[in-house]
Symmetry: C2
Subunit: 404 residues, 2 copies
């Protein structure tokens, strides 16, 4: 056999296996309680409605659903989304400012490929979504991590990195943020911070990639405006939305909103990447939105996940030893646990798995130069109440056994 | 607004809009007969069966179909494909030698990203599939075109390029081929040539990317073995299959077969690209294969396209002026027309569109340094018999009007 090792590209050599995707395979044993994944609760999937919608769309529009689609996305879905964005986010966008993609991960990969040459600098929160880091690192990004507190990334944190880059003669290609119920920390960036960060971006001739998968999963409090809305059409924000967390992940559907001339660049790259996202799933999703069922479905989900968050917070309160802290997210799927500094949560994971509970170690969410070792991410959307209690109990016991 | 032009990557600046995808938008007027696209005949789509299959799969497996899937692909589809490859191609492959992708274009993009650094050399037939060129050029490939005749790429053509590269101190990362009913020429590489090309690849420490979307759409004659089969598991071939031409393109489903350790590299990149291909479409496709309906569907399609090919050949015979030549494909969706050298088919396209007929100019299928201007691609799968006759008639009139 020829030596493939000599043939691999820099991309192939720099992309790292996702800690979560790999972990999910290891912990697939049925007796492990996994608080590790980022899975929505399958009990909430509107399976019957989806089944009928798929059936009816294919029967009614066999050619549109089963033939190749346009790269930009099916007209019916783009039209439905223009209305949906206005209704749910008060965002005015035209169809040419929209690109339908195969969910947010594809959008992240496209942002990396459209803007990054190998070695180019970007800024993210530290910690941040590991799937984004994976896509950025595949493109050879040099990731600068900005400090965060209980309200997400700080303005100072962003400004420090921008100054640091400028002093080094480098520019920041973009600032990547998950503004609400951030993966992994669960924190939300307040309105004033958003405004200040946008001004900073403009000052330094860079822009915001706003990744907003959980935004509509809010249990309490008032939502700050999206960066996209605050920008008021000045073109300094590209926002990524997905149906994975508010409808079903199995459709692999999301969309990018941005300036039309930038979206055009994305369209051309997508031609080369996969021609188009599945039209049958687009047409069915458009029908679901137009039927008015999406908002009630989200309301039901918010109610359910809100109860699970409350319950997990209670369980943490009940079982965790002193010296352990956690965030209290206003929405989303995750919270973030910090243990004493001398505990390495990557090493502790082996103990946890022995105790039949799993989480994702915080380490995996940090850009390389910024790693910390004493935190971990918990998911509360997927497990049942019984599993949440037993899982937190097992985790607390694991932490206790590692404490001095 | 910030200046995005300064922020774009080399990838964004090197990827060119697909001539076909752009053309399809221009010629969407209903009175134009398009022989340009590569669309299957929607009248053959098994729409009712697909509709029921989708419905039943979601009802029977709501969690598997609507939840996130594994990056490698759904187990049920991989198992079905192991059987299908044995049955249809006498290929023995294990599930870990398979990766489910979002159709062949994604596979092509992945091949480019896994193996190519900017400036790396590859060899393709000249002309070759323009979607492949688009993906390879996005990755900065330096494409060397090997000469072809009526039986596809020649062994000498490949060897000349390999020698040329070696003499220049460069290596060939891979050789990309569409071995049967090639897009755009319709030609098929004979068995002996395949064997010789494989030996050459091994000699020069490179491998074959075998793109096989049309292979099963054979109207006549005996199929040569796939490169994959000829290689007998030595690991010097990566083969790309898709359901777009034998089932429905709207599912965006394909698969890659190769050495397990190489497939593992593809899996890790796919994690960063889109996490997974839609599980609902995978499960439905697995059900379709397992129901035994795929082979009869292909038989029906072959019968229909075979008749259309015969008819288009008759019409070309009937209407084309002397001095025009065309290929006689044994299968697939396309044939290749060569007009006198002094006619530029790109320029002629404007005349053709005025005459309400469209094709794809040959120019778009050539790697940059190898462009010719006097050929064009015709599709015979999509149009009705009436449209095929009228389209060829209009095209013949256009060519005549350009002849000296």
């Amino acid at each position: 056999m020829i030596k493939y090792e000599k043939l691999y590209s820099e991309t192939a050599n720099s992309v790292k296996a996702s800690a979560i995707r790999e972990l999910l395979k290891i912990i697939a044993q049925p007796d492990i309680i996994s608080l590790a994944g980022g899975l929505p609760d399958p009990n909430l999937f509107p399976a019957e409605e989806v089944a009928h919608m798929l059936h009816d769309c294919v029967i009614a529009h066999p050619n549109e659903t089963l033939q190749y689609g346009t790269t930009e996305g099916q007209k019916c879905l783009k039209e439905a989304l223009v209305g949906w964005m206005k209704e749910s986010e008060d965002i005015d966008a035209t169809p040419d400012q929209l690109l339908i993609v195969s969910a947010s991960q594809q959008a992240l990969d496209m942002c990396a490929r459209i803007f990054l040459n190998r070695g180019d600098a970007i800024i993210t929160a530290s910690p941040t979504y590991l799937g984004a880091l994976q896509a950025f690192e595949a493109a050879g990004a040099d990731v600068y991590g900005a400090e965060s507190d209980d309200f997400g990334v700080t303005v100072e944190g962003i400004e420090n990195r921008l100054k640091e880059l400028k002093a080094a003669g480098k520019s920041c290609k973009f600032i990547y943020l998950v503004p609400e119920f951030a993966n992994p920390t669960g924190t939300t960036i307040p309105q004033e911070r958003r405004e200040a960060i946008l001004k900073l971006a403009e000052k330094y001739n860079t822009f915001i990639v706003e990744d907003s998968p959980y935004r509509q999963v809010r249990f309490e409090g008032k939502a700050p405006d999206t960066f996209y809305k605050i920008d008021q059409g000045r073109g300094n924000v590209i926002t990524l939305f997905t149906f994975s967390k508010i409808f079903v992940p199995g459709f692999r559907l999301g969309y990018i909103v941005g300036p039309a001339h930038v979206i055009r660049k994305f369209v051309i790259l997508k031609q080369a990447m996969d021609l188009c996202t599945s039209p049958v799933l687009q047409v069915a999703t458009a029908a679901y939105i137009k039927s008015g069922r999406l908002m009630p479905h989200i309301v039901e989900e918010v109610k359910s996940y809100g109860k699970k968050r409350d319950f997990m917070l209670q369980m943490l309160e009940k079982y965790m030893p002193k010296g352990v802290k956690w965030t209290r997210p206003e929405g989303g799927l995750f919270l973030w646990v910090t243990v004493p500094e001398y505990i390495d949560t990557q090493k502790m994971l082996h103990e946890a798995v022995k105790n039949k509970v799993a989480y994702v170690a915080g380490f995996d969410f940090y850009p390389p130069r910024y790693a910390k070792h004493n935190d971990l991410r918990l998911n509360f959307s997927y497990s049942s109440f019984e599993q949440l209690e037993e899982g937190v109990k097992r985790l607390a016991a694991t932490i206790k056994s590692c404490m001095k």
